[in-house]
């Protein structure tokens, strides 16, 4: 195998493929490497940890086709080279990477040890990339990172009744994010799949301005962007029955400007940084607006006030500050409504003027 490719093009492609390379303990050793295939006038780079596979194809001047598995350090080597064409040539059990007067040889790994990653055929559905990436940004953060609870590490993608669109839902049991996307059809009526959230982060990152093609296979979902193809494992597990968790109505409603709310929460939580129990306490009263406070033992206390519209009974409720900030960030509106039942039942953050997103957040019990 021998090819030549512009440094910047190759470095960017390597960085994309490299993001999917295994980083966890216990993976197959070969999954810490990259597979490169040189075909007629392009090279394909694949990185995979078997949950996510990033496949990037970039133009290259290929003198000799072939396939090789190279250590992921190739990315660092290429990035440090001077701008200009980079030549990669495989000879025996080594690959020589050269540009101008610089050259590096890298030991190859056995191609046959690299897992056979199946390609998913099918035309798939086309979705506006900007729309999908925006929805994923709102939802994916609420998914759990706890691998002991597999169903919660995924994002539920479900068809809405009557083919009116899809719904994305993620939860880690402390909060739940839900976004409806009207007019998007990638599922059969009644169909739902659970897609590994980690992979959807990658889809967000690679989404450009055009369209994303989504192909749903039996065990994986493939997202083709204009930059790369991301294959994400489907999780074979039942997602919790989330609909019953959403309260039917709320007696209390606070409306507050999003940016001011976020800044106020960030300001008062500084005193509790790094302390698990330093929750943010919100005290709401009609005519009194919103009082915020955080208290951290042997550090101190922060308080703040925010003008806000409040309807309902006087209420003090506390939240995990990071979960609250994630929810505020996820709401795509200039004004946020915080709806509550009491200090122990789930509260909801959503755009003040309604919309197609909600963030359900469990309070924490205060002493």
């Amino acid at each position: 195998m021998k090819f030549r490719c512009e440094r910047d093009t190759l470095a960017e492609a390597l960085a994309t493929a490299q993001r999917a390379v295994a980083s966890r303990n216990g993976a197959l050793p070969v999954l810490f490497d990259l597979r490169i295939t040189a075909i007629a006038d392009a090279i394909e780079l694949v990185g995979s940890d078997l949950e996510i596979t990033n496949r990037v194809t970039v133009p290259a001047a290929v003198e000799q086709t072939g396939v090789a598995v190279l250590p992921k350090i190739l990315g660092d080597v290429v990035r440090k080279l001077e701008a200009g064409p980079v030549t990669v040539e495989v000879e025996g059990d080594e690959a020589k990477v050269s540009s101008g007067v610089f050259a590096t040889t890298l030991r190859l790994k056995a191609v046959e040890e690299y897992p056979r990653i199946l390609a998913t055929d099918g035309a798939g559905a086309k979705v506006d990339a900007h729309l999908l990436a925006g929805a994923l940004r709102q939802v994916v953060k609420a998914a759990s990172k706890d691998e002991m609870r597999p169903p919660l590490t995924g994002v539920l993608v479900a068809a809405r009744p009557g083919g009116t669109g899809i719904r994305l839902v993620a939860t880690d049991s402390y909060r739940l994010a839900l976004r409806d996307l009207d007019g998007v059809s990638m599922l059969e009526d009644g169909q739902k799949v659970l897609v590994a959230a980690k992979g959807l982060n990658e889809v967000q990152r690679l989404a450009g301005d055009g369209e994303i093609t989504v192909v749903l296979g039996e065990r994986e979902a493939v997202f083709r962007t204009d930059k790369a193809e991301v294959t994400v494992r489907l999780i074979e597990a039942d997602f919790p029955n989330y609909e019953q968790l959403i309260p039917q109505g709320y007696p209390n409603r606070l409306v507050v400007p999003k940016e001011a709310f976020r800044e106020a929460v960030e300001r008062v939580t500084v005193v509790g940084q790094g302390r698990d129990n330093a929750n943010v306490r919100l005290q709401m009263s009609t005519g009194g607006g919103l009082e915020l406070s955080v208290s951290a033992a042997d550090v101190g206390t922060s308080t703040g006030h925010l003008d806000a519209k409040y309807e309902g009974a006087d209420l003090t409720i506390a939240f995990n500050p990071q979960f609250l900030l994630d929810g505020i960030d996820a709401v795509d509106a200039s004004e946020i409504a915080l709806e509550t039942v009491d200090h122990l039942k789930p509260a909801t953050l959503r755009p003040a003027d309604g919309g197609d997103f909600l963030y359900l957040l469990m309070p924490v019990r205060t002493a």
């Binding site: 197959l28 056995a110 909060r175 968790l245 042997d298 359900l360 924490v364």
Partner: protein, 232 residues
Amino acid sequence: MPNGRSGDACETVRVRLIVARCSVEYKGRLAARLAPAVRLLVLKRDGSIAVHSDTKAYKPLNWMSPPCVIEHRERQITATTAKGESLVIELDEVLSDQTFDLGDDPGLDKDGVEAELQELLAARVAALGDDLELIRREYPTDIGPVDLLCRDSSGRTIVVEVKRVGEIAGVEQLLRYCERLERDSRFAPTAGMFVAERIKPQARVFAESRGVRCIEVDIAELRGDIDHLTLF
């Protein structure tokens, strides 16, 4: 003591260590193969099997976690799961095959548990008494820092010593702090409180005979199992 044994049946009660030239094939969500080489196979009492090389510290090259069915035929060990995943180890040459009974493990004593307990209790001194108020954590004295210094509703200074496991030595340490602080007019009168995840009976008897209150706490509860309500 090692028990030399031939590998004709799979030992599941004891840990079994096999050093063998072998090849390994995994079939499941993907297909993966390890070419023939000398490797260490570890079969544990928990029903797991792990294939190690002479690198990567504790990390196996491949493994199968329980529940799985492990079968050992003449030159082959197979582990299969209910989901249809399989790990097939072809044994070309067995260099060593031994089993050991490791007995019950006493568990890992982790540094930092006491510090975490102390931090959690400082954040919620109410877990030790409704009327307690934290004066300071790690209050320095000439003979060392007091874990938690609190005040109760009657104005007494409560000197709290936090341990993972409460033993007599910890009670003695607490009594020394109390005696020291009793001399300081800012803190007198004082009372001792001995807090641990588990307090040994002798330590409890000794503490209570000196007027020290003993409290056992659950670190999981303090960590937030109580505070962090969940949606489901």
